[in-house]
């Protein structure tokens, strides 16, 4: 039939060209390497659907691309369902599987096993990702030497050689005078030198250098303003919550860290504009207790209530003050069985990964995820820093943090607004300090990579939801507001 028959059947396991050298329910390994998930046994069907889609597109008089951009696409890796979405969007019924032998039995025969990339899921889950941006800001000798010395110093801390670490720290202070500490590697190195000094010279058991909750809130707010990360996180989470609340009249959002409630005005406004009218919205905001007699949670709640009233959204707020997330008990949230619940956690869950101090049977993270699951929420939105900052070995943690935060600072260079930028840097600096300086229950910044979170959440009974193209499109538009010159690598976000 085709010109490849002789070449292929020579490689396949039986004489007939209809045999398959891979098990049918396995994902086609070569397409996986291209980022697509298609089962080998489904290939022919998928091909037929593609054919059908092409015919429909050719015969559709209206502007196909307009129709296509209005449609919401999900998970393009799954070619079959992507094609089906478009077929139904173009008002054509999805074809039933048929045995039409339209496609000759040309079989994929991986002639050279070592060239075939591993199945996509394996590649992304089993191998830990270390995403590096080489810091090429100043390739002067001093900059590079600083980094090398920092790593050496961390190594000696890990080995317990504090005297050596101390003298290395002094060397680095000297090196710092020879680099530009206003930006780039000099600035980042400065923070890490401070953090290491704290660890080496300060006595053990110092109070966490975190400051009051009021200070944290202010720094957080400026971090939110100075760079796009939190804005995107809020935006994406809100989009997912909005979609999950579709069709429900009583909805309840549980925010694990209210701060200044920056995430919620946008959601309230989006709900106000919902076709069919807004639901009744309850917001429960969790936050640390205010020591100075203020009830900061209630203040934020009042402001949000005012906004909700102005756009005619029925709204009720409840504040739950808790010093730690593990102190929150589900009964405090007063979830009613009739309401649709969304649980929203922005950079909070990693704090639960510390050692088990209560000597209870389960780890804090398991307990909390367990009761969240029991609330039976429509959706849980989780935002976490993607970094491997919870490794057991200090040196590994340190090196990872060095690269991660270098990148963060690098990206902050794009922010021109003061004092937002300076305060955002202070916010980041506190994270660095916690990762490098603290241990045990004091170390709360226990960031972990996406793969670990995905496993953990799946084990707790959660299923990942795919981000739709509509949310992605709006996020892209948001991106243009930041006038970023560099190309932004889009990461897949499974919520």
């Amino acid at each position: 039939m085709g010109p490849y028959d002789s070449a292929i059947s020579a490689g396949s396991s039986s004489g007939s060209s209809s045999s398959s050298s891979s098990k049918p329910h396995e994902i086609d390994g070569l397409l996986a390497g291209a980022g697509y998930k298609v089962r080998s046994s489904d290939l022919r069907q998928v091909a037929q659907r593609l054919e059908r889609l092409e015919t429909v597109m050719v015969n559709t008089p209206a502007d196909v691309s307009q129709l296509a951009s209005d449609a919401v696409h999900y998970n393009p890796s799954d070619i079959a369902s992507w094609v089906d979405t478009l077929l139904s969007e173009l008002n054509h019924p999805v074809p039933l599987p048929s045995d039409l032998p339209d496609f000759p039995d040309l079989v994929v025969s991986p002639l050279n096993q070592s060239m075939v990339s591993e199945a996509w899921t394996q590649q992304h889950q089993n191998i830990s990702h270390h995403q590096l941006m080489a810091v090429t800001a100043t390739e002067e000798d001093s900059g590079i030497r600083l980094v090398h010395t920092l790593v050496m110093c961390a190594e000696s801390v890990q080995r317990g050689e504090l005297a050596l670490a101390g003298s290395l720290l002094e060397n680095m202070q000297a090196l710092l005078t020879r680099v530009n500490t206003g930006c780039g590697i000099g600035k980042v190195a400065g923070y890490f030198i401070d953090a290491l000094s704290c660890r080496v010279f300060a006595p053990q058991g110092t109070a966490s250098p975190y400051g009051s909750s009021y200070e944290i809130e202010v720094l957080y707010h400026h971090f939110y303003e100075a760079c796009p990360y939190l804005k995107f996180a809020h935006f994406t989470a809100n989009q997912a919550i909005l979609e999950a609340f579709d069709g429900h009249d009583c909805v309840h959002v549980i925010d694990f860290n209210l701060m200044h409630g920056l995430q919620w005005p946008a959601l309230i406004q989006a709900l106000a504009l919902r076709p069919g009218g807004p639901p009744m919205l309850r917001l429960t905001g969790i936050g640390p207790p205010s020591p100075d007699g203020r009830d900061s949670l209630r203040e934020i709640g009042l402001r949000l209530a005012e906004l909700a009233r102005s756009v005619n959204v029925r709204f009720a707020f409840r504040g739950v003050a808790a010093a730690r997330l593990e102190d929150v008990k589900p009964w405090m949230l007063q979830v009613s069985p009739k309401e649709a619940v969304a649980v929203n956690s922005i950079m909070q869950l990693h704090r639960l990964l510390g050692t088990n101090n209560n000597n209870t049977r389960n780890l804090p993270i398991e307990i909390v995820l367990g009761w969240i699951r029991n609330l039976n929420p429509k959706i849980m939105t989780v935002v976490e820093q993607e970094a491997d900052h919870n490794q057991v070995g200090f040196l590994d943690r340190f090196t990872e943090a060095l690269y991660y935060y270098s990148t963060m600072f690098d990206s902050l260079e794009a922010c021109a607004v003061q004092p937002e930028k300076a305060l955002a840097e202070m916010y980041i600096q506190r994270e660095i300090c916690n990762v490098v300086c603290c241990e045990g229950s004091a170390r709360v910044e226990r960031h972990e990579p996406l793969a670990k979170w995905r496993d953990r959440l799946t084990e707790a009974g959660f299923k990942p939801l795919h981000l739709g193209s509509n949310a992605f499109k709006q996020a892209s538009m948001l991106l243009t507001l930041f006038q970023l010159r560099a190309t932004v690598w889009r990461r897949r976000k499974d919520v």
Binding site: E51, H130, R485
Partner: protein, 345 residues
Amino acid sequence: MAGDNEVNLNESKRVVPLNTWVLISNFKLAYNLLRRADGTFDRALAEFLERTVAPNTFPVDGVFSVDHLDRSTGLLNRVYQPAPENEAQWGRMVDLEKPLSTTKIIPVIIFFHGGSFTHSSANSAIYDTFCRRLVNNCKAVVVSVNYRRSPEHKYPCAYDDGWAALKWVVTRTWLQSGKDSKVYVYLAGDSSGGNIAHHVAVRAAEAEVEVLGNILLHPMFGGQMRTESEKRLDGKYFVTIQDRDWYWRAYLPEGEDRDHPACNIFGPRGRSLEGIKFPKSLVVVAGYDLVQDWQLAYVEGLKESNHDVKLLYLQQATIGFYFLPNNEHFYCLMEEIKNFVNPNC
């Protein structure tokens, strides 16, 4: 019209393996959705549909990758290297002080991905995979350039970015090798990437920056005239004259036609390459590519300008045959490229 389409689809189905057909058809249809009749492009949807992969400092199948920021352009270059022999060094930061080797020559291939100047990026899964294969096959370092794309960035942006990437590469001391401590540079690209490689090589020759060779994988060239291959193969193997026209309109300056020298290299407005120190070229032409007459004309033009060029004509290959290693053309191509960049040849 529908009848014609059935015929067309039947032909392409018969010459490629099933998974290749699914892959390229999927691209074809997605791209049809993204190109608008008014010449604009749905970039947001394109980015959403694009299958991308992150760099990975831990070697996968013997190759690791790191993204480097070129501060002069703000663009990222993804650098692929063979895994260090010492496993203890896996996952560690790239040593920016040491050259690749002080004894052996390690070729550095600057790769410009395809996509008709409009689609894909250096982190596209298909190109990430391809670059990794190149590293293993040639024992080379590959630098994949994330050039700016049309229609948002028209000619000459892609060439400017390619030239900037070349300058970046040749000034990295850590990409040097051999006893002479220099960077042994080759330029490579498929489709529009091949076109970019050509133009960057011309700039390099004029600026006396040494490029050791060009590898052009069914490069994207064209002209006003409709050639025989375009007419014969229109719509038959995934590509149409209409979409080629759209991409040229998107890339070339407003009001220009396809005889613009960016597009029609040896055409009426082409510049002469005689006498300049242009590198040797390996030009790969797929027998089912409707653009082949232009590619063959390019090869002739190089010969007539007294430049070293080898034509690899793969009679029964379609565009994109090198994305999946499931056909003999793929292995033939890899062998040719390996020999082309081998310092001993």
